[in-house]
């Protein structure tokens, strides 16, 4: 089985490539023409690994690159920049990929989405967010990433409606790992410090290697006859999810973290709610504030909710290989090794 992986040089893409290779699959990793593929170097000599140097905005080149592919894992997305940059990098790129797949007669797609597409502001605290949860009710309050990922999911579904096509949509929670341990579900930078918002909310997280295993498993299940994952949406979170405080303490124990200022969730929630009300009453909702005081975005990051991975385990036969504690220690060790490598390579006496 040949798996075509977009975004293969990225944080998640490298882990998915590794998982697919270790599962014995043939991998064709998409590397943008000017991208640094150093993270994939360990696979270069493997006969089951190859790269496709192509940009997803180049549809003609994509058709050629997709020849002989059985299943596509689509990870590439643009998370930074203004709305139109993200639209081009996420929506138009996905549109190109799907059109090229149709032309190249590739019919199986693992579309990787995000937990961001769920509705949080209107959802009551402590609700279980599973695959049946509502998606965003009012996009106006959410960010560009959420808006473009929602449009991307629509494209996935439209592709899946074509006779003979198979699609599974995965929605991972916050993906953490080496270099991505201290993340935005803990708070926001505030000058030289970090504003820690809340402490008891459960974190919907998945360790990058665990998540990669789930993504590869989804591709394998999709290729089975009478696949049980075709047409499904599956959330990916790890087992025994920690609270913000528990996670922060585990990370602080193994790596250097920013100095923090703690603010209770109730305080930030109330301030943001007041600002939204004032915005609506005084200027018809036209004012734009930083995301940290926009209730729709704030609730998406810090609201106390509950999560489940029952469907992922049932349909994918997946089980996270690493506990959260193990994943943190493993990530810290990788960070330490990477720092040592960087130090060695920059030491002139070593030349």
């Amino acid at each position: 089985m040949k798996m075509f992986i977009t975004g293969a040089t990225g944080f998640v893409g490298q882990a998915v490539t590794a998982s697919a290779m270790e599962s014995g699959l043939n991998v064709r990793a998409v590397v943008r023409p000017a991208s640094n593929a150093a993270g994939l170097k360990k696979w270069f000599d493997h006969s089951t690994f190859e790269t496709a140097k192509v940009d997803l905005r180049d549809r003609k080149a994509l058709v050629t690159a997709l020849e002989g592919v059985d299943v596509v894992v689509h990870l590439a997305a643009t998370k930074a920049g203004d709305f139109y940059s993200q639209f081009a990098g996420t929506v138009v790129a996905t549109e190109n990929l799907l059109l090229a797949m149709a032309e190249a007669n590739v019919k199986n797609l693992v579309g990787v989405s995000t937990f961001s597409v769920y509705e949080y502001l209107q959802t009551k605290s402590n609700t279980v967010i599973d695959e049946s949860a509502e998606t965003v009710a009012d996009i106006a309050g959410r960010d560009e990433y959420t808006e473009t990922k929602l449009i991307q999911e629509d494209l996935y579904r439209t592709f899946g409606e074509v006779e003979g096509n198979s699609v599974v949509i995965l929605r991972p929670g916050m993906i953490f790992g080496a270099g991505e341990l201290w993340h935005s579900l803990l708070g926001s930078p505030l000058g030289p410090r970090f504003l820690r918002i809340g402490s008891s909310s459960t974190l919907p997280m998945t360790y990058v290697e665990n998540c990669a295993d789930a993504i590869v498993a989804a591709g394998e299940r999709l290729m089975e006859q009478n696949s049980t994952v075709n047409g499904e949406v599956i959330n990916i979170v790890d087992d025994n999810l920690p609270s913000q405080q528990e996670y922060a303490e585990m990370v602080e124990a193994v790596v250097e973290t920013p100095k923090t200022v703690k603010v209770p969730w109730a305080v930030v929630k109330t301030v943001a709610g007041g600002m939204k009300l004032a915005n609506k009453k005084l200027v018809g909702g036209r004012a734009k504030f930083p995301g940290i005081v926009v209730p729709d975005r704030l609730h998406a990051r810090f609201k106390p909710l509950r999560y489940t991975n029952t469907k992922a385990k049932r349909l994918l036969g997946w089980k996270p290989a690493f506990t959260i504690a193990e994943a943190i220690k493993r990530s810290a060790e990788i960070e330490r090794q990477q720092a040592e490598m960087t130090e060695l390579s920059s030491d002139p006496s070593d030349a």
Binding site: D82, Y84, V92, I151, L155, R286, A287
Partner: protein, 375 residues
């Protein structure tokens, strides 16, 4: 008018179509859907009939978000089915000539993003097509309509600065940033293929503003240094430093145009010096500073200038914070230009950007790029 022309009687509100759904489309579509602070509700003059883009998702998104009646991926089909009175061409510059010609031939007026053509020769030909079909053709000279430029022009026209002797325009933007739309080496922007490369996206602005603020000066000596300081292989140039000397109706004029990509922060500064005083503004972080003769005569004028400019800076600081929160950016000039354009179309008045102004700006760009101007 050629035999195959399709003259139409235009009735209010005019039907508009937007072709191209890149970042600038948001500004045109916001105006057409009545969502701008400058123009507000424009439904008595224009309604958005269609959005067209090669990407079905982009066309559908633009149409849905801004309330167009339909979306298309084929401009020919859109022109036939939606029959727009005005077409906004917002595609990459290399596609302008073909798309503008087709839109004009369908009987529509055309508003086109800059640079409308790579050279003035091509602009002359395109204007001839517009004349042939008796349609208006307008290139976006949006920054001319920004409040800071309007205020300085009023000061010039009122004689506050005396006779203009020097205009300096400086744009600073990090175009070489690999994460940006110009600096991405994976699939370089089509603008890199223009004669001035990426800077061609800004030379129109620099040129029309220079001409506008110097009273349409004629520059007989031009020295332009085009550089690629970053040495990026995808860039022709990332830096321009040009000096021009000429004359206007009121005497000699010196001009200085600069584009920089490795300075910070982003800026679009304009300084106009005249025989009585000077005025300066920044279109990206707006303020207006003018040192001119004020009430009180020679003795008190310096003090009056200090007080007036201090107050102006405080006012600008407060206003800019408000604008940031209320999302009123530097594109308010574009909204004003579109508002004036539709008013002119509806009332049958002269367009706010005339063919002569477009041609002169394009000729100045040619002059900057000419071999004999290189230093």
């Amino acid at each position: 008018m050629p035999d195959n022309a399709k003259p139409r009687r235009m009735t209010r509100p005019l039907k508009a179509a937007v072709v191209g759904s890149g970042g600038i489309s948001q500004e045109h579509l916001s105006f057409l859907s009545g969502k701008t602070v400058v123009a507000g509700d424009v439904s008595d003059r224009v309604k958005l009939a269609a959005v067209c883009d090669l990407s079905p998702a982009a066309a559908k998104y633009g149409a849905t978000k801004f309330g167009a009646e339909a979306s298309y991926t084929d401009m020919t089909k859109m022109l036939e089915q939606a029959s727009p009175d005005v077409v906004h061409i917002l595609t990459p510059p290399q596609s302008h000539v073909a798309l503008v010609t087709e839109a004009l031939a369908s009987g529509a007026h055309v508003i086109c993003e800059k640079p409308i053509t790579p050279t003035s020769e091509e602009l002359r030909k395109l204007q001839a097509v517009a004349d042939e079909y008796d349609r208006h053709l307008l290139e976006s000279h949006n920054y001319r309509f920004n409040s800071g430029v309007v205020a300085i022009k009023e000061m010039i026209d009122d004689g506050d600065l005396g006779d203009v002797r020097e205009v300096e325009i400086r744009v600073t933007l990090p175009v070489t940033d690999p994460g940006g739309r110009f600096g991405d080496p994976n699939m370089p922007s089509p603008i890199h293929k223009m004669p001035a490369g990426v800077i061609h996206d800004f030379t129109t602005h620099l040129s029309y503003l220079m001409l506008h603020l110097t009273g349409d000066a004629t520059f007989t000596k031009v020295g332009a240094s085009w550089n690629n300081h970053s040495e990026s292989p995808i860039f022709r140039y990332d830096n321009l430093d040009a000096i021009m000397i000429g004359s206007s109706a009121t005497g000699p004029v010196h001009g200085r145009l600069r584009f920089e990509s490795d300075a910070a922060p982003d800026g679009f500064t304009i300084v106009v010096r005249g025989t009585r005083g000077y005025a300066e503004t920044d279109l990206f972080q707006p303020y207006l500073r003018a040192v001119i003769p004020r009430t009180g005569g020679g003795q008190l004028s310096p003090i009056a200038n200090h007080i007036a400019n201090g107050l102006e800076l405080v006012k600008s600081g407060v206003t800019n914070v408000g604008k940031k929160i209320m999302q009123k950016g530097p594109y308010h000039g574009l909204h004003q230009m579109l508002d004036d354009t539709y008013a002119a179309l509806v009332d049958g008045n002269e367009m706010p950007v005339t063919p002569q102004q477009m041609l002169r700006a394009s000729m100045l760009v040619d002059q900057l790029l000419a071999e004999e101007s290189r230093v």
